[in-house]
Amino acid sequence: MNVIVIGLSHHSSPVELRERFAFADAKIPGALKSLRESGIANEAVILSTCNRVEIYVATPLEPARAFMQLKQFLVTAHACDAALGDELYTLAEPQSLQHLFKVACGLDSMVLGETEILGQLKKAYDLAFQYKHTGARLNKAFQRAFHVAKHVRTETNIQRGSVSVASVAVELAEKIFNSLADRDVLVIGAGETSEKTARALLSRGARSIIVANRSHDRAVALAGELGGRAVPFDDWAGEFQKIDIAISSTSAPHHILDRAKLEPLMKLRHHRPLLLIDIAVPRDIDPEVNFLENVYLYNIDDLQAIADDYLRLRQEEIARCEQIIAEKVKALLGYTRQEMVGDVVRVACCVKNPVKIEGV
């Protein structure tokens, strides 16, 4: 019995196509059941996320025949008349197992090395397992995939560091402040990136968020979403006494904060460390302020450069990860063959020496 995979992902197809073939969580058990009843698969797992739709099956059919039937199943299940060509990939052993391991490790993800996919894969497997649509082959393959993902995470730097501006800002804050738990954050200008950064800081324990925006209504709305408070835009400087991190993203054509303005504010704050994140273009904060003691200023390019460096480091790790995966797939296939040989031997023994059951 072969483990094969058929699917669409962000590598092969646009979101417009992926969304047409996506499976809602509630419909997956039914889809798995019909897959098994149709005889295409003895075991099956469906993984459906925003970036991929994949069906993993252990099938008694020849791979070519199974792929054809799975493709038909996909089209029928979604009542979709779209012609599927190169968008659909089909992999048989050992590539199917390599692909599963790569997906688990985040090597096939849009953000290289991200960990969210591992949780999604576990959820997909748990759902199939719960409805008894998995057996020895897929149980072994998925459990090994989770193990490999953990191994790769600890043995390589594939998941090291942050590759988004918001998470780099959080990392910087953690390198400056003893703890984020008692830190107050000021958001000047309620842009998308500043909102993401503020959310990331809150998720890591920041105490409170203060929002100042030219449109006060927008400030109130964002503060409400983040559980913080809004202040009038002209009053943001008055908050400097309390805050520890400021994220600025206004559309002002000039610097809204310069050295002359910040120096007296630092005195009011008793020179506690201050992290300034300037994600506005043109910049909101005069670079000169970085020369002040206990002030750490990062603009969008600085943050992006760190994120890019992290990504480069992750890319350098791909070869190591692939080597680990190749070894693990080889070991899994070797194990499976041994197990199959073991089963044959056991069956042969039973035939040669049938167990006598008392009373029969």
């Binding site: 942050s162 780099v168 953690e174 400056i176 402040f177 630092m266 970085n290 003691e293």
Partner: protein, 273 residues
């Protein structure tokens, strides 16, 4: 094994400090991207050898081994590594070892110079419980000052990397700068308390006829050191903006201590009769 003296054990400890120093350079070159439990265990091994060396010396003279420059120097190094092994139990502060090992190696090599450990006379130069208390607390204070200087060095490194947007600042496993500053100042405070106890104990020690404390180079130097460290803590309290200056001051004060400790000892009629 009688030929294997306490100095041999200390030599082995210094060799392990050397290995740790080489490993620390490797960690530094790699941008402190790995948890250095290897370095922690190297320093633990060196500490064990170092402790055996001190015990052997202590048992051979039947008192705390702080009777000459060699013994005083190895006591300072022992206090630094002991303090590190305690602080290093916290994973985020374990990197202190990478900064401490070069200091320990340098002190160790210096201490091994034969002139610092002359053949012992018929009687120990100092004796008594109060003398041991005086010497031990002062040496432990030097250890705390030394480790404080190491934390201050880490602070300056990390602060520089953060100011100049080096990737190393986020890649490294160094603790946050605020914590490093707190650790450095607390170590200086602990050192100052121990130093005060040691100096106070010294006031009650007998002194030769006609020798005034105020004319003794070591006593004057010790009071100067005490004032320097007190000044650093007071300045930090009064001028919180000068974290970098405080860290530089802690490093400078310990460098001054190391460079002048042996000279003032030789000039002291009380400590080097």
């Amino acid at each position: 094994m009688a030929w294997f003296t306490d100095r041999h054990f200390f030599l082995l400890a210094v060799l392990v400090y050397g290995v740790s120093t080489v490993y620390s350079v490797f960690l530094w070159r790699r941008g402190f991207r790995r948890d250095d439990h290897v370095n922690y265990f190297l320093l633990l091994a060196a500490f064990a050898l170092h402790t055996i060396a001190m015990f052997k010396r202590g048992f051979s003279i039947n008192q705390c081994p702080v009777n000459n420059l060699y013994e005083a120097t190895i006591f300072i190094a022992w206090a630094i590594v002991a303090a590190y092994l305690v602080v290093g139990l916290l994973p985020r502060l374990r990197f202190l070892g990478a900064f401490a090992s070069p200091v320990l190696f340098a002190i160790g090599v210096f201490a091994l110079m034969p002139a610092l450990d002359p053949p012992r006379g018929p009687k120990p130069e100092f004796s008594g419980a109060l003398t041991s208390l005086h010497a031990a607390t002062i040496m432990l204070a030097y250890g705390a000052f030394g480790l404080g200087a190491v934390a201050a060095g880490m602070f300056l490194t990390q602060q520089h990397d953060l100011k100049f947007h080096k990737l190393r600042a986020v890649l490294s496993l160094l603790p946050p700068i605020q914590r490093l500053e707190i650790v450095a100042s607390r170590l200086v405070l602990v050192g100052l308390v121990l130093f005060t106890i040691g100096l106070e104990a010294g006031r009650f020690l007998p002194r030769p006829e006609g020798v005034s404390y105020w004319q003794d180079a070591k006593v004057v130097w010790s009071i100067l050191m005490w004032l320097i460290y007190l000044g650093l803590l007071v300045m930090r309290r009064l001028f919180p903006q000068s974290s970098r200056r405080f860290a530089s001051g802690v490093i400078g004060a310990f460098a001054f201590l190391l460079l002048t400790f042996w000279g003032t000892n030789l000039l002291s009629t009380l400590h080097h009769p």
